[in-house]
Symmetry: C2
Subunit: 294 residues, 2 copies
DNA sequence: AGAGGTTACGGGCAGCGTAAGGATC
DNA sequence: GATCCTTACGCTGCCCGTAACCTCT
């Protein structure tokens, strides 16, 4: 009796094909190279045929390998459906490594996590707040499962769910007159360096105000608001985050004649391997943000 | 991370459902009851839900179990397709336990085994020759994989492939005159007791010749022909088997006005679990017999 | 008591990681 | 030598079988 194939072997096989090598697959699966070699060899043994031609630089699928590939995809798709329809998400403990931009952390992240915990009560959510470019790298390195950032990420491997835009507006301390503020002559607080809003703001200020404009980039948006409140800076920041400060009466909105374009966020995740949890989380992010932003 | 499901668990699950109990499934899979219990419990653990309600007499599927059942069937169907399209049958060693009636053993069995070995070079064929009723029991007890017998077997679990009929004819020693033979007054050699041809012959002789007819049932058809050759008996036997004896000139055909109806053989096998090998073997039996019987 | 399933526990083996070994550029 | 993959080998943990146990009729 020939030993039967199993899902782990097929999953491994798919990883090797998609990663284009055993070493890469081992990395992706958090295993060693020999472990992957063994799995593939066992799979080949159990079908009594080779799946790869071992060339000098890496592997190449055989015809049989191509055929098995299509079946392996069907198997894992089916496994994903079982995950969706049969597994009890109320009971199973899992982990979601979530990366979010500061803006999100300051607005609808709590509502998102609450909804997530409602749908997956045993889910552990690990949150990392960072600038979009770092989140992007973390996602591609598989250090996080889902990134909510200034997107989309235009890699073929990434799926992006568009989220509602954040409109920006100019804010200044109420100690300034509107006319004073409009000059944009005091320092401008802004998003951190290496972020899209920062670069766009810097370019626009250079063009519309002049090269001598001073920008204070900050990795913390609440710090920006504090700087504005204190009358040290003015800033173009998301309207959605200004509510508390308005209520305190410490800042006001003003219009110097232009504002940076709205912030387009996406919930982005790797398409392979397909995960119902991550996909659902991205959709929940969409639903929650839509509800919160109206 | 919840441990993943695997194909073995799903296969076991299917067996339990189809056998209607853990004990029966254990028997079918040649394992012990606790092993099956463990597999099912692990499967339940990995989906974090129960699949069966444990009642006093046996198990009953839960709603989740019903859903998983349909997926499990899809999984194993897919596995069967892989078996068909990916596994190298030229290389894999397998075993086919074949049960055949004497008539088949004497006619196209060699051609069948040759063709089988041509298509599956590494296949071990175990041959058991017995009367149809015993082959039927062996098949249902899973002691053989494929039975070629007087069919069909009308159990819901059995698939039957119809094979060409064996026409019967009356034979007598050339030492008898045709007129002598037609009386059917000497003993009649026939198939073994408990076979369909025996019962039919006995009933027909009772009606057409009388209750005093003597029948010599034999489990060996070649023994029947020898008895006929020796002038001790006449017999209604398959035309297809008479060729050698004709050529020797030791027997002749005669027609007492009626002959038993032709022998209808089938290649029969259990539908569960689906097996490409067995299914293909049955079809090869069909092809070979069609070719040989023309 | 017997027919069903479950729990307890020891042993064998599959499969992992570490480390060393090719092969090819 | 660098980059891949494979081989060798010890070890851990999974899963099976034996045996005892439970629970209903």
């Amino acid at each position: 009796m020939s030993s039967k194939i199993n899902l782990q072997q097929l999953d491994t096989f798919l990883s090797v094909v998609r990663c284009g090598g055993i070493g890469k697959a081992a990395e992706q699966l958090n295993l060693t190279q020999p472990a992957i070699t063994t799995r593939i060899r066992n799979l080949e043994y159990s079908i009594s045929a080779t799946l790869f031609e071992r060339t000098s630089r890496g592997l190449k699928l055989t015809k049989r390998g191509e055929v098995l590939l299509s079946y392996a995809e069907k198997f894992l798709h089916l496994a994903e459906l079982v995950e969706r329809d049969v597994v009890d998400h109320q009971a199973v403990e899992r982990r979601l490594r979530l990366g979010v931009s500061e803006t999100i952390a300051q607005s609808w992240l709590p509502a998102f996590v609450e909804k997530l915990n409602q749908k997956f009560p045993k889910l552990t959510v690990e949150i990392k707040v960072d600038i979009s470019v770092e989140l992007r790298n973390s996602l591609l390195d598989r250090e996080i499962d889902l990134a909510i950032l200034l997107g989309p990420i235009s890699e073929y491997s990434v799926d992006n769910v568009a989220l509602p835009e954040f409109e920006l507006a100019w804010f200044a301390s109420t100690s300034f007159s509107v006319e004073e503020a409009k000059q944009l002559k005091c320092p401008i607080a802004s998003y951190a360096r290496n972020t899209r809003p920062y670069r766009e703001l810097k370019a626009a200020l250079f063009e519309k105000v002049g090269p001598e404009t001073v920008i204070f980039p900050s990795s913390s948006l609440s710090a920006c608001f504090r700087l504005v409140e204190a009358g040290l800076c003015v800033a173009a920041l998301p309207k959605a985050l200004a509510k508390d400060y308005f209520e305190r009466g410490s800042i006001r909105e003003f219009d110097p004649g232009w504002t940076p374009s709205p912030l387009q966020f996406t919930a982005s995740y790797l398409g392979d391997p397909k995960s119902y949890l991550i996909e659902t989380a991205a959709n929940i992010a969409h639903d929650v943000s839509m509800a919160q932003m109206t």
